[in-house]
Assembly symmetry: C2
Homo-oligomer: 358 residues x 2
DNA sequence: CCCTTGTGCAGGAACGTTCCTTCACGAATA
DNA sequence: TATTCGTGAAGGAACGTTCCTGCACAAGGG
């Protein structure tokens, strides 16, 4: 009943019967294999075309032993899958994963993140890329147990005990270094009261970043000024910024970790009567290219979703093809200093240059 | 070699042998089928768990006759697949398709859009959602020929001759009506020289919209002012806007059809010395929620990618489950009038109200 | 004339499931 | 005692491919 028509699809044997040859001959003729004279080959092809024969993909896969399908799952807010794919970071991850996979002859399946038991195992996959896995992630566990190689974007979680480890790879960022780099830069530019806007999610990124910020503040004896958003959204984010800036002694620098329309943020800050970078230095974590076209251009921190995804797919494909390469790859975030965080004295900034750690 | 380990995976028969029962018993015990006493069932389950047995997904699918996998393909700029998934429209289509599919127990495969011959047929799919198919699209043809139901977002292309038609569905917009609605609104608000920014792509949306604009202008004896972008990108778009506004007799209204950061556009217009809506009325085609938070809020035209995708999936799923419902669904775009296109006299606008045609 | 070598194809075993059919056996009924 | 009946489980045929093996026949060499 699943097939819309009740005509039961023409199979290989049907072609064979119609052409008066065996299954083998048909298969060989259509796949360009075996030793067949051109005449036979063409005859079979003609018959197959006449009958409208199309090979059954599932049967081929069963025979082949692999599916050329890679799974992609985002494990943040598991109960509402793919809601955050609207964010530029996820969107670019999806795009880049797909493009890289296709370049290697693989398709990409967007996976369910919750559901009855281990329902994801019903999908025939050769490998999986898991974004933001949680501690002891059941999905990761299931796939590894099923012998499906997993690459995640958190190296900490790839360190599972025992033999399963051999099948897990990772790509990751030096998150601490990135956050510190931004904070150091702001301090150097004269900032004394740096405020941070983060998200209260299960994503390692936010948790790690917030911790790094607290550590950095503690080392300098500064009081952290932080707003943690329970959920993403334009309204909430702008609200948080407004509140931060309304403090009795307002911050002189703002570092956002949540994704947001940067031109809109700039505009909002202006409407609150503060100028960038005059009154407030600004650095945004974002993948939005619009950031470099604002006035002033905004300093950005990017976690290179495209490169991450590409690397993850390469890792996975290498592993699938038996080329056991590295266990993982560590990236550095891409910090681009622009006018929005230039020193008041004018000693820095104005340009559009990338800074890389150590 | 494809499987990373050379341990050849434990199969159903292996469990059967180890448990001292037959394949049937194992299958029934694990799937909760058949008539088995609890003791046997538990014994088999224990053995299976001990051996680390995981059923082979491909084999199940072959047996089941369906894959619970839906394909998603964007046919715009076929040679560079998924580059435009960064755009909010595509991104939301992908998100909504995936969520709707998962809700019905289907996974989503992001399809290749080019490649050797009909390579997409190697992927085991139950149905396909094709965005922006081109005329006589080979992908659509291939899938229909292979008996895989196709839903596209262009009703014009679903009208293929003959019996194949029964397998194609569509969701679409009344594009002309939407464009005219915006133009009429701008005219009513006092605009006399409406300029349009469109993209030069194969997407029906742009072509149809441009045609509608030309027709509308012709009916009124107005000269069309249009900028067609060869490629999307912040730089190009802002450049086009700058040029349009630099005309000797500049436009008094702007209607953008390409996706763009709306706060950035507003900012750019201001930097060119024009005020919105005072000097220039503004309506943007966008899916970006930031548009309602700018100052002034921007009037937007949305093609509801989320609802489109949901409808497409419903259509597909209905067809797959034998519930032959409609052939398609026609949507109306969502035009929201805000202050950016309010009449100079102040007669209109300021609010945030939706307008629907008809 | 027999043995090799090569060509053209057929048969059938995989791939790993599910599920339909059958069969044995003990208990209940006639 | 001979017939039903229900329970528990085995056997094997699908699902639709691919590909290994092997057979028949013809041509060539000794």
């Amino acid at each position: 009943m699943s097939q819309s028509d009740r005509t039961p699809r023409v199979r290989l044997v049907d072609v064979a019967r119609a052409a008066g040859v065996s299954k083998t001959t048909v298969s060989d003729a259509l796949n360009g294999a075996g030793r067949l004279p051109a005449a036979t080959r063409e005859h079979v092809q003609k018959v197959a075309r006449a009958l409208g024969y199309r090979p059954n993909a599932t049967a081929r896969l069963l025979r082949a032993g692999h599916t050329r399908l890679l799974g992609l799952a985002a494990r943040e807010y598991v109960e509402t899958p793919w809601v955050y794919a609207d964010l530029a970071y996820f969107s670019q991850i999806v795009t880049a994963t797909t493009r890289a996979a296709l370049a290697h002859g693989y398709g990409v399946v967007l996976l369910p993140t919750y559901g009855p038991d281990d329902c994801w195992l019903d999908i025939p996959l050769d490998g999986v890329f898991v974004i933001d896995p949680v501690e002891g992630d059941p999905m990761v566990r299931d796939f590894l147990a099923a012998g499906v190689p997993v690459v995640s974007d958190r190296r900490a979680l790839a360190e599972v005990p025992g033999e399963a480890r051999a099948a897990g790879g990772w790509v990751d960022f030096d998150n601490d270094a990135a956050v510190r780099q931004v904070l150091d830069h702001l301090e150097e530019a004269g900032a004394e009261r740096i405020a941070v806007v983060a998200g209260a999610t299960t994503a390692c990124f936010h948790q790690q970043s917030v911790r790094a910020y607290h550590d950095w503040c503690a080392e300098r004896g500064r009081a952290p000024r932080i707003a943690c958003l329970p959920a993403p959204g334009v309204e909430q984010t702008l609200q948080a910024v407004t509140e931060l800036l309304a403090a009795p002694v307002p911050p002189d620098a703002l570092f956002t970790l949540v994704e947001l329309s940067t031109p809109l943020l700039l505009d909002t800050i202006r409407r609150l009567g503060r100028s960038v970078p005059g009154d407030l230095l600004l650095v945004c974590t974002t993948e939005d290219p619009a950031a470099s076209y604002t006035d002033p251009p905004i300093s950005t921190l990017s976690f290179l979703p495209g490169e991450t995804a590409r690397a993850a797919v390469e890792l996975l494909v290498d592993r699938l093809d038996g080329r056991g390469g590295d266990d993982g790859r560590l990236f550095s975030a891409d910090f681009r200093i622009r006018a929005s965080s230039a020193a008041p004295g004018g000693g820095r900034g104005g340009g559009d240059r990338a800074a890389r750690p150590g």
